[in-house]
Symmetry: C2
Subunit: 501 residues, 2 copies
Amino acid sequence: MEHHLLNTLKVKSLGIDTYSENIIFIRSDCHICRSEGFTALTRLVVHHNEKTIIATLNVVHSELLSGNEAGLSDIALERLNVREGDLIAVSHLKPIESLSDVRAKIYHNKINEKAYHKIISDITDGLYSDIEISAFIAGCAGNNMDLDEITWLTKAMIKTGSRLKWNQQVIADKHCVGGLPGNRTTPIIVAIIAASGLTIPKTSSRAITSPAGTADTMETITVVNLSTKKIKDVVNKEGGCFAWGSLAKLSPADDILITVEKALDIDSPGQMIASVLSKKVTAGSTHVLIEIPFGETAKVRTHDEALKLQYYFKAVGDAVKLNVEVLITDGSQPIGKGIGPALEAMDVLSVLRNEKQAPKDLKDKSLVIAGALLELSGKAEKGKGISEAKKILESGKAYEKFQKICLAQGGFKEPGFAKFHINITSETAGIVKSVDNRKLAKIAKLAGAPRDPSAGIYFNAPIGTKIEKGQTLYTIYSELERELQYAVDYLKSVNSIITIV
Amino acid sequence: MEHHLLNTLKVKSLGIDTYSENIIFIRSDCHICRSEGFTALTRLVVHHNEKTIIATLNVVHSELLSGNEAGLSDIALERLNVREGDLIAVSHLKPIESLSDVRAKIYHNKINEKAYHKIISDITDGLYSDIEISAFIAGCAGNNMDLDEITWLTKAMIKTGSRLKWNQQVIADKHCVGGLPGNRTTPIIVAIIAASGLTIPKTSSRAITSPAGTADTMETITVVNLSTKKIKDVVNKEGGCFAWGSLAKLSPADDILITVEKALDIDSPGQMIASVLSKKVTAGSTHVLIEIPFGETAKVRTHDEALKLQYYFKAVGDAVKLNVEVLITDGSQPIGKGIGPALEAMDVLSVLRNEKQAPKDLKDKSLVIAGALLELSGKAEKGKGISEAKKILESGKAYEKFQKICLAQGGFKEPGFAKFHINITSETAGIVKSVDNRKLAKIAKLAGAPRDPSAGIYFNAPIGTKIEKGQTLYTIYSELERELQYAVDYLKSVNSIITIV
C-alpha cells in the first residue's frame, strides 16, 4: 500500500463497537480534514509504527474529540494494535485496483486468476469496505462464476489462509452443504472415523443463514474456539476434533465474506464451493466426503441442482488436489428431532449413547456418510463401510472417542433446555405428508437460535407419522418470552408448515 | 412497519456525521441491549412520536453514554426530528420482506412490478442498510434487467417521488448519459430553449463518477440547491432553470442509490435509464431529448451499445408517457477545453457570450441538441431547428436569458481559477490522433474535481491538432499542491493519454 503523506493525531478510545468495520472519528475542523479535504465516508489509510489499516471516516462536530485527537472503533484499535494516547498518522487511500475487477464481475464478465488473487488478498488485508464486499458477493452470486473462476477463487482463499500440516498420509474430512434443519451428523461421523484409527481434523462454521451450525451445536457440549496449536494437539492425541474453523484463520478472507453474506442472507454456489474446499485444503485434508441434501424446501431444491454442485465439487477438488466424493441425500424433511444448537446436541448424544429413543434417521444417515468416508479413505473395503461404521458406533467406541475429544478440547457438559416453551398441536388428524424446512428454520431463528443456544424446535412429526387431533407436532423453545411470541406471531401469518392428509 | 415493544432512551447528540447511514449508539450494559439481545450491527426500529427510522446499532463500552442514553448520528437526528434530551424508543426490526426480491435479483431472476415498488419504497423509507443497497445495485447491473424490469423500476421511482406540475402543455427537457469530459452543453441549451419561449425546468445531478456534473458546474456561477417552491418560481418567471435535482426530492430513492453507486464507482444501464426517466416524469416534462455520446473511452463504448440504450430509452419513455428522442453523438474526445466544474463553466460563458475563442465544438454540439429539441417540441419545423437555435444564441438572447435565470436563482458570479497549476507539454511533434477520456477524467479527479470546483484540466489538444515539441497539451489545476502531485504521479504511471503521430 503506497501512501503520500503522514499527519499525526493522538488516539482516543471511544469504546465504540462497529463489529468488523474499521471506523476513524476525526473532528470536522481539525487541520487534517481541512488540508486534505477529507469528508464523511472518505476511506483513509491509518498508520502506527509499521502497521497500517484502512478505515472509513466519521466526521465529528462536537466536543467528543479535540482537534488533534482521533477516535477509533474497537476493531480498528485492535487491528492497528494501538491504545489511548498513541500517535497515529493518516493519509489518502490510493484507488484500490482490484475494485475494477469487482466491477467487471458485477457486469457479468469473466475475470482471471490474478484478479481473484488480488481481490481476496485485498479483502484479507482489510482494504474493502462492507459496501464493496457486498457488491463482490452479489457479483459472484447465482450462476455468475464458471468452473475456472470457482477454482481460482478457491486457490486464492487457500493462498491467503494459514495451513495445517499432519504426519499422516491420509487425512479424512466431511462437509454438508446444509440447508436441512437438524442435520447434525458431523459429531457422530467424526467420532466414528477417529475411533476407526483415521485422522479427521474437522473444522466447522457457525450458522450462516440456518438456526445452527456444527460449531454452534458442539459449543453447547465442549469448547470449540480452539487456536491452531490447540487443534493440532487435540488431533495428534485423539485423531479428531470439533473445532470452529474461523479462529484457526484457515481462510481469513472467507470469514469476512461470510459476515457480509450473513447480513445479506445469501449463500451462493461459487462462494460456497470455494469456501468449503479452501478450508479443507488449508486444514490439510486429503480425502473429503461432501453431502448434498436436496428437497423442495432444502437449500438445494432439485436433483439437477445437486448434480451440478456435485460436478463442481469434484472438478474443483481435482484442481486443488483433493480426493472428493459426493453423496446426494434426501432433504425432504428435518433430520433428528432437535433444531437449534442445544436441541441438536441432545440428538447427537442420544445416537452416540445408543439410547433406545435416539432418532433413527440421524443414526442411519451418519452411518451412511461415515461408511462412505471409510471406503473413500481406504479404511473399509467397497461395500463394507456402513457395517464397519455401525460396529464402531454400537460397540460404544464412537461415544468413548467423542468424550475423549471433548475432554482434550477443554471439557464435556450436557446441553440444557431453554426457559420457555410452547407446544404446537395439530388441528386435524391424519398422516404427515410434507414438511416446510425453511419455515421451521425461520421459527427456530425467531425464537432466538443460534444466538441463544438453547432456543429452537423439538420436532415430532416426520413425514409418514400418524397424527391425532390435538397431538403435539413440535415444541418451540426460547430464552425470552417475547421471542417465543415473535415465533408464534410468524406461525400465525403463514400457511401450514406441516401438511397432514 | 410493525413493531413489538417499546423501550425508552434519552437522546444524546454525539455530533457524529455518518453521511447517509442511520447509526444508533447504545451502551452494551444498558437494559435494552441485555433484555433484547441486541448486538453490534443489529438493525433496530427507532421511534419518536409518530416517526420511525431504521438504524444500525453501534454498541458503546465506554462512559460516552450513560445506561439510559442513546446517541444518534447526525442524519438519524435529522430524519427522526429529535434533539438532545428527547425520549426515543427502540424495538426489533421484523424481517424486511422486499429483501427476498433483492436476493432473487442477485440470483439473476426476473422480479415483478410489485417487487420493484416494494424495494424502492423500502429504500425511500430508509429501511435498507448500505450493504443491502449495494447488493441491490450489483444485482441490477450489467444486462441483468429486461425492458419490463427497467420500466417497473422507473415507475417505482416515479411513485415514490414528489411531482412538479406546470401550466404549459409542452415541457421540454434534455439529458446526456455522460462519460465525456467537459460535455457541458446543458446550460447553453437551457438558455436557448427558454429564450425561444418554451418551458424547460431542467434539474441536473452532481458528478457520479465524473469530474463534474452540470449541478457542480452551474454552482460555480449561481445557486443550484433550490427548493421545489423556488424551482417553480424561477421557471414560472424565466421559463427555465439550472437546479440540482436532489434537493427537489424528485426521486429520493434514486438519490440514495446514487450515493452507493458513487462509492462503488458503478453506473449501470437499467438503473441509469430508470433514474433519468423517473426524474423527467416527476419534473413534469413531456418532450425529452436524450444524448448518448459513444467512443472507445466514453462511458458508452460502441455504437451497438448506444443503439441498445436508445431502444430502451424510447421504449421505457413510451411506457411512462414521455415523448423521447435520442441523439447518438461522437464521444471520441472531450468537448470544449475545460474539464472540472469552474473550467467547464468558463467554456459555457464563452459560448454564450459569442467570444471569438469560444470552443467551437461545444457551440456546435449545443446547437445540434437545442435544434433537435426545438423540433421535438414543435417550436421549429423539421430541419430548421439548428438554424433557429443559432439565431437565438448569436443574437445574445440566450446569454440574456441565462443571466436572468441565474439572477432569479440567487445571483451571478464569474468562476475562478485554482491556486496551483502545471502545464503538461508534448515530448514529440506531430498530429493528435486519439485522446483517452477516462484517463483525463481520472487526472481531473485526482487534482480535486469536483470537490474543489476550480480543480481540473484545461485541454488544448483535440484530435487533429498540430503539435510542436514542448507545446502545452493541457494544464492541470488544483487547490492543493499535494493533489497536483497525485495527478502528476498518476500521469507518470500510465501510458500516453494523448497519442501523437
